[in-house]
């Protein structure tokens, strides 16, 4: 992991002190709420439906045991709302109704506190910290080099990458040094703190795109040219939201040392021409779509000015690259067990290997590693009774222990809202499985249906049109049978509570989107979306399959879609083809028909279609 220098540390502390000053001025009435708003937002403090929400940056997903422990402490000591507040919130949310589950108890909203939440942008959120305590939390975070800088606001946001960066066998080059260099460059960039809209960058360094770069304002793909030199393919103007767009390639090859100069050009052109009259049209994707080649020409002209006139101050030096890259060397891990340890290990291994759940866990949750001695292990935060990506204080603490004991003190927050341990010795797998299972973090469902993505939705977010979490919980409840889950196979199910698409519904093989009609919760279902991974194929938004469904209908619709898949699928190389392959082969129609037959009231749906 990147080790903070004295400069980096004092910078984060200065930021915490600055935030304290701003909060105190706000509480003292010297800084109005309107002016405090963008300042707190630029430190990750939102005000949500019932309480403030803090979003903490986990740059490119890398997090240490020490940092996880501080998050555990924040969960326990600070994520503590006034009991009256949470009781009122609970009553309001419960009035929205239940989601039925075939053969099970209906799901209702149950609000809890004392936990953190992993997001699709590899940040961590807390939902119940009183704003008056926010400056104390920022000090605490600064003590482990964490902060909320630019996790909100119309700024350059947290940079995301491949969760298997630096360990993947198919890697062209490690993206993390570039992520870190961009993190530093973008932090409190004076020119780019009030852009037309937020700005998100994703970097992929492997052959497989595991960073969904087509979906970002800027997507960067590391590659080597014919001469063997390292550089980036640059995509601009991807994004979800109301208008899903896949990024346009604006540069087939940008030499690596020009990265910051080129980004400066892209963002300056955006700062000048991006629309500021309509928040729905303010993202760079709209500008790129409207201007096409003219946009690229202007970026190239601006880049030329930066290099030829300004003196290209931000050309990355070999020395700086070397300094940063030196932080990302693989830890040396040895496992030699002798005597009692060896005997104990033999017992644990025999126990594990006698359990079919262990085998399934090895298949689903354990990933290959560049080092044949090592494995990457995903801890599943997708289980009954807790929202996707939620981790209580105790679970965060336990995850810190696991990372420390089994993974050189490092974990990765994944965009699928789990934690990945990147440095696990293969001889430790039985011990890790046993320990993770005790904690409820060894559910062998990674990549399967219940490893679904969901935003916090209408239970928390003031932007949401509908709740995401009861839908996620109902589907999770319905698909608890491990054999059935395994039979359905790999599939991306993504749920967003509104068109802002934090739950990435556009890129789900099945996408569920909360929409609001007459103050009631409705859900639009899309099929065939893709994030760009090998399983999903080239990034593309899913297609809507008709009028929206009621919350009560959604679990039945998912059943119908999956039944259709199981009826239609064929064998491919001796294995059943997966959902997305069947969908692409047979087309959307049989799925649409099946979903429609799951409606309670077909006539009313037809009327909504007309309306």
């Amino acid at each position: 992991m990147y080790q903070y220098t004295d400069f980096d540390k004092q910078f984060v502390r200065a930021r915490a002190a600055q935030y304290r000053d701003q909060l105190e001025r706000n509480l003292a009435g010297q800084l109005g709420d309107d002016e405090f708003r963008p300042l707190r937002l630029q430190n990750g403090w939102y005000i949500q439906r019932y309480a403030p929400m803090l979003r903490i940056a986990v740059p490119y997903g890398e997090i240490s045991s020490a940092q996880l422990r501080v998050l555990a402490r924040i969960a326990r000591e600070y994520d503590r709302p006034d009991p009256e507040l949470i009781a009122r919130a609970q009553a309001t949310q419960e009035a929205l109704g239940e989601v039925p589950v075939r053969g099970g108890a209906p799901v209702r909203t149950v609000l809890k506190s004392g936990y953190g939440h992993f997001t699709t942008r590899t940040n961590v959120q807390f939902n119940w910290i009183p704003l008056a305590r926010s400056a104390d939390v920022m000090d605490l975070l600064a003590s482990v080099n964490m902060h909320g800088i630019q996790t909100s606001g119309n700024t350059i946001r947290n940079i995301t990458s491949d969760q298997q960066a630096g360990i993947a066998a198919d890697e062209i080059a490690d993206p993390r040094p570039f992520c870190e260099i961009m993190r530093q460059w973008s932090t409190l960039h004076p020119e780019f703190a009030f852009l037309p809209r937020k700005f998100k960058i994703a970097v992929n360094g492997a052959r497989e795109d595991r960073a969904a770069i087509g979906w970002y304002d800027v997507g960067l793909q590391l590659l080597r040219n014919d001469a063997g030199e390292l550089g980036f393919k640059v995509l601009v103007g991807g994004g979800m939201g109301r208008t899903p767009v896949i990024g346009t390639v604006v540069r087939e090859f940008l030499p690596w040392d020009q990265l910051l100069n080129y980004l400066e050009a892209v963002i300056r052109v955006y700062n000048r021409w991006g629309r500021r009259d309509n928040a729905w049209k303010a993202r760079i994707k709209i500008l790129v779509k409207a201007e096409g080649p003219k946009f690229v020409e202007e970026v190239e002209a601006e880049y030329k000015g930066i290099v030829e006139v300004d003196g290209s101050a931000h050309t990355i030096t070999q020395q700086e690259f070397g300094r940063v890259a030196a932080n990302f060397v693989a830890p040396v891990l040895r496992r030699e067990r002798t005597g009692v340890d060896a005997q104990l290990h033999a017992i644990v291994r025999a126990d594990a290997e006698a359990d079919p759940a262990y085998d399934r866990w090895l298949q689903q949750n354990v990933k290959e590693h560049r080092n044949p001695e090592l494995r990457a292990v995903v801890l599943s935060f997708k289980r009954l009774g807790q929202a996707p990506g939620d981790a209580t204080g105790d679970q965060l603490e336990a995850a810190a222990e696991l990372a420390e004991h089994f993974s050189a003190g490092e974990a990765r927050v994944t965009h699928e809202q789990n934690l990945l341990l990147p440095w696990v010795h293969r001889d430790d797998l039985p011990e890790l499985w046993a320990a993770a299972r005790k904690l409820g973090l060894a559910k062998p469902n990674i990549g399967l249906l219940t490893d679904l993505i969901a935003c916090p939705g209408g239970d928390f977010c003031s932007l949401a049109n509908a709740r995401s979490l009861p839908i996620a919980e109902a589907i999770t409840q319905r698909y608890q049978d491990a054999d059935e889950l395994y039979d359905i196979g790999e599939i991306d199910l993504h749920i967003s509570g509104c068109i802002n698409s934090c739950g990435h519904h556009h890129s789900g093989h099945i996408g569920i989107l909360g929409v609001d009609k007459d103050g009631k919760e409705w859900y639009q279902v899309t099929l065939g979306g893709a994030d760009g991974s090998r399983l999903s194929g080239a990034a593309t938004p899913g297609k809507i399959i008709g009028p929206s469904f009621s919350a009560a209908e959604v679990p039945g619709v998912i059943d119908a879609l999956l039944d259709t898949y199981r009826e239609q699928r064929q064998a491919l190389d001796g294995k059943p083809e997966n959902f997305i392959t069947t969908l692409r082969r047979v087309g959307i129609e049989p799925f649409r028909a099946a979903a429609n037959s799951a409606r309670f009231d077909k006539h009313a749906a037809a009327e909504r279609q007309v309306a």
């Binding site: 910078f11 000053d21 963008p38 004076p190 703190a193 700062n271 500021r276 000015g305 101050a313």
Partner: protein
């Protein structure tokens, strides 16, 4: 590092410009600074219609860095104390605060950070190019 940005109250700025004879150019925040004729111009006034409209930061940057303009670049409009440091680093040399803003609080913001990661528009190179 250049001197700190000059902080002015609107009344003082008005009084001063009535007394001095400065060739000032007012630039709307959607204008392209690269296409302006700056011959003889001593001060360029850039405008923030809302503090959250950041176009003038890029204008100042281009004037200072690309064109090497050496006169005064002044921030006007919705100018708040919490944006002064980024104004200075983007090339502004003076700022006329919105009326309700407190000069003392403004001063307190200027020395908060010893230095920053990026190079800026007023001659500072990026942190990674500095010695030590």
């Amino acid at each position: 590092m250049a001197d700190f940005i000059q902080i002015l109250k609107a009344a003082d700025a008005q009084l001063a410009s009535a007394q001095e004879d400065v060739a000032a150019l007012q630039l709307a925040n959607d204008a392209d600074p690269l296409s302006e004729d700056l011959a003889g111009v001593q001060r360029i006034e850039l405008h923030f219609p809302k503090f959250s409209d950041g176009r003038a930061f890029s204008q100042a940057w281009l004037l200072r860095r690309r064109l090497g303009f050496r006169g005064d670049i002044r921030a006007t409009g919705d100018v708040l104390v919490d944006q002064l440091v980024q104004m200075q680093r983007s090339g502004f040399s003076s700022a006329v605060l919105r009326d309700d803003q407190d000069v003392e609080i403004a001063q307190r913001q200027l020395g908060r950070y010893a230095s920053f990661y990026q190079g800026d528009a007023i001659g500072q190179v990026p942190h990674f190019r500095r010695a030590g």
